[in-house]
Amino acid sequence: MNLTLHVWRQAGPAKEGRFVTYQARDISEDMSFLETMDAVNEMLIQQGEQPVAFDHDCREGICGSCSMMINGVAHGPQRGTATCQLFMRHFRDGDEIWVEPWRARAFPVIKDLVVDRGALDRIVAAGGFITANTGGARDANGILVAKTAADEAMDAAACIGCGACVAACPNGSASLFTAAKISHLGLLPQGQPERDRRVLSMVAQMDEEHFGGCTWHGECQEACPKEISIDVIARMNRDYMSAAWSVREEKGSSAE
């Protein structure tokens, strides 16, 4: 099939950006969206033009690199699917497709469709872990974890850190990402000792990075390639309230 792509081109962080229109000819419906972009790039290079820069690596929907706003939907039309796992059979011959980068103050554009998502790493660095230095761990079966708890934790832990939730949220909020990590660790017995510090520090960092707040639009959940539920945000709020309540015992709680 033949498609018309309107792709956001931006030479660099400080540069002006604009949409440029490209024709993608005889695209097979068994191709992935990224393979279509590859085809466009091959064509551009042949014409001596600069190929479109976009993040990608695993192409299996697990590394979280790929990140495209396709026709106004983060990761495109198919639900629970990362851009790299989106196949062209979801489009029709002659379709016009708009491709934009994630847009958020916390995700500055580096080039074309590539943005800097370092803020998400810093949220994890602020407290998204269980303090357990290497060595000295007790026998794994010494800690019992109810299957239900393990499964629920796994649901939240499935987050691939792609940032689609931020991109889709009208407030540019990283609530789903942050809450998913807080839920993953907070649901497990191993995560209890640091539960309060974790939520206080991570939320403080999330605000520090200039992400917006959650007003429950639910867009993030729909965009999430791992279909993580906004229920985790409710859990984060609950944890935050009880942690804030006991903050005094926690001297310097959210500072490392």
Binding site: I130, T134, V145
Partner: protein, 637 residues
């Protein structure tokens, strides 16, 4: 070159413990005075970087992705082995050790493998403490599955995302150190050269992929954990960015490259449809626990699977390997698939595929159980192929998956360059000529959490290292070379894209150095590869500049290195006239067409030494002697 494997003496059970005692320690107060450069943030790199920072060393960690969490380990699906014997089914450190040596077709180093089996136990403890959500039984104990032909259930897993969860555990430990200011992470940064001073690895030269800035980093020890080089075949299950650049540049600085030809072809991948695929997708091997592999009995039978009666189906794995059946090891299963397809009995477009059928399992266990076990894998399959595996049998075909070869390392994981350590898939590893399923995650984490933190300390404690900084001429020199190479790539301005060269190379390798290899084919490849390389440097088109994010340039540098590595792979494959594990030489097979080893002539590690542009690499041999397991022709019948 003298290869000293530094295997401690004493009985195999005590080697590691004794060695730990003999190793030098670094005074806690002095640790932060030592800078350790860790290249790679996968399981091996992240775990090593985090553990070393926890110990107090000054650590810098590098990766080319925009976040350390995206290292390719994230894609591992099936699980991780450990000799916990939680299932009480007779597993033990010794059995895991034995299975690994046998699975590797007796081409690995006993002492290393035994240590790996010992440490496997600690890995699970560590990961659970970090909050890795492994699958659980209702009682709250850890669940296990049997995997990749193992006859005990020793594989721990987290849905189909084990690698992701293990990496996130290591990544979180790493980010914690970043938060504490003890570790500096350099994402979107690619190592382009290794710097030696007085014969020791003292630093690296990197390119900032965003600004293009070429920078030097000095250190007291360097760890490469940069993963495998399967992408030399263009199409593989590896991530697009996976590359050999770091280890290849190290090789050219004097590190020996061991067993480059040992590549693993994974039997259960989604067959490629047409010419466009940019990568191949793995379907976790765990599927073979319940799926039955078959092809039609008669050639060119194009009927849809449901119209082929039971009697006209050939469940060839069950037929050829009654005791292991559908669970026979990867190399065996892959070659069997190739054989039936070569006979013209393959299914699907191009006849390059075999059925993986769940009909029986669904009848036996019910669709819900199957969904519970493989739901997400089935979804991934349907997403890609648009076929529903609950109704139609899956189609699978082998694809390049893992590289057992890599930089040669001694018992301390140190290469032939003092101070240069190598962990994870990047080293020639403990898997011999073939890796068992769920053992790479185990090895990566054993290296990073439990081996390197000790052996790095030993190296730093035992050697008086003169202080160096990046003003040293050796750094200037390396920076210059890196810059020149980049300029050259950009200046060619030819007609062909980097990808077209990569495709051509990949096809060449797959056809002549893939699942089955023979002298003629390898010689042909060895003659063609230099020609392709020559055209590459004459006719490649790399747009853009070197002072910006330039993905075409990144690719070009990587493919240029693959074009050199490919030649070494074929050279190694040609010299090893035996068949072993993943390396199948048609000249050396049994009457039934099974791999036939030649222990008399080839029971050694082939460590290749770089001797300069245009001159042939020198072969060094590390003899492998087996004191604890006796060499036997592998049989899974």
């Amino acid at each position: 070159m003298k290869l000293n494997s530094r295997i401690p003496d004493g009985p195999i059970e005590q080697k590691w413990e004794k060695h730990q005692f003999d190793m030098k320690l670094v005074n806690p107060a002095n640790k932060r005075k030592f800078t350790v450069l860790v290249v790679g943030s996968g399981l091996a790199g992240a775990s090593a970087a985090a553990s070393l920072a926890e110990l107090g060393y000054d650590v810098k960690c590098f990766c080319f992705q925009d976040s350390p969490r995206r290292a390719h380990s994230i894609a591992a699906q099936g699980g991780i082995n450990a000799a916990k014997n939680y299932q009480n089914d007779g597993d033990s450190v010794w059995r895991l050790f034995y299975d690994t040596v046998k699975g590797g077709d007796f081409r690995s180093r006993e002492a290393n493998v035994y240590r790996l089996a010992q440490l496997s136990v600690n890995i699970i403890d560590q990961c659970v403490a970090q909050g890795v959500p492994f699958a659980r039984e209702y009682g709250g104990l850890l669940a296990n599955r049997s995997f990749g032909g193992a006859q005990v259930s020793r594989t721990f897993y987290a849905r189909g995302q084990t690698g992701q969860q293990l990496l996130l555990g290591a990544y979180q430990a790493l980010e914690r150190q970043v938060g504490l200011g003890r570790l500096r992470m350099y994402p979107r940064t690619e190592m382009l050269d290794l710097v030696l001073i007085d014969g020791r690895a003292r630093g690296i030269v990197t390119r900032d992929l965003v600004t293009g800035a070429v920078t030097s980093h000095a250190g007291d020890a360097v760890i490469l954990a940069t993963g495998g080089y399967g992408n030399v075949f263009y199409l593989s299950t590896n991530a697009k960015g996976s590359n050999c650049t770091a280890i290849w540049r190290a090789y050219k600085r004097g590190a020996a490259f061991a067993n480059p030809c040992y590549t693993q072809i994974h039997p259960t991948c989604i067959p490629q449809s047409g010419e466009h695929p940019s990568k191949l997708t793995l379907m976790s091997e765990s599927l073979r626990n319940d799926g039955r592999v078959w092809v039609p009995k008669q050639q060119g039978d194009r009927r849809p699977p449901d119209q082929i009666p039971e009697g006209e189906r050939d469940y060839y794995l069950e037929r050829m390997y009654p005791s292991f059946g559908n669970l026979s090891p990867r190399d065996i299963a892959s070659r069997a698939a190739k054989r039936v397809c070569d006979e013209g009995r393959g299914v699907g477009p191009g006849g390059l595929g075999v059925y993986l059928d769940f009909a029986d399992a669904i009848r036996r266990l019910g669709e819900d159980v199957i969904r519970e076990r493989y739901g997400n894998l089935f979804e991934m399959y349907e997403r890609i192929t648009n076929e529903n595996p609950y109704k139609v049998p899956m189609r699978i075909y082998p694809a390049v998956h893992y590289t057992m070869g890599g930089l040669w390392v001694d018992y301390n994981l140190m290469s032939t360059i003092p101070g240069l350590h190598v962990g994870g898939e990047a080293n020639f590893s403990d898997h011999g000529a073939n890796r068992l399923g769920a053992s790479a995650l185990m090895q990566g984490l054993a290296d990073g959490y439990f081996v390197l933190p000790y052996t790095i300390g030993d190296y730093l404690g035992a050697n008086k290292l003169a202080p160096v900084d990046v003003s040293h001429p050796a750094f200037r020199d390396a920076e210059r070379q890196v810059a020149e190479r980049t300029k050259r790539l950009l200046s060619i301005d030819g007609k062909r894209t980097v990808d077209s060269f990569h495709r051509e190379l990949g096809k060449m390798m797959w056809d002549h150095c893939g699942m089955a290899r023979n002298e003629a084919g390898l010689k042909f490849a060895l003659q063609r590869i230099p020609e392709i390389r020559e055209e590459f440097w004459r006719n490649v088109n790399v747009p853009g500049s070197d002072t910006e994010l330039n993905q075409a340039l990144e690719k070009a540098g990587r493919v240029a290195d693959f074009l050199e590595l490919a030649e070494l792979i074929c050279t190694d494959a040609l010299h090893r006239r035996e068949s072993c594990g993943g390396h199948f030489r048609e000249e050396s097979q049994t009457a039934e067409g099974e791999a036939l080893r030649d222990d008399e002539h080839f029971a050694y590690v082939a460590a290749w030494e770089y001797t300069g542009e245009g001159s042939a690499p020198v072969l060094n041999k590390e003899p492998l002697d087996f004191e604890n397991v006796h060499l036997a022709q592998r049989s899974y019948k």
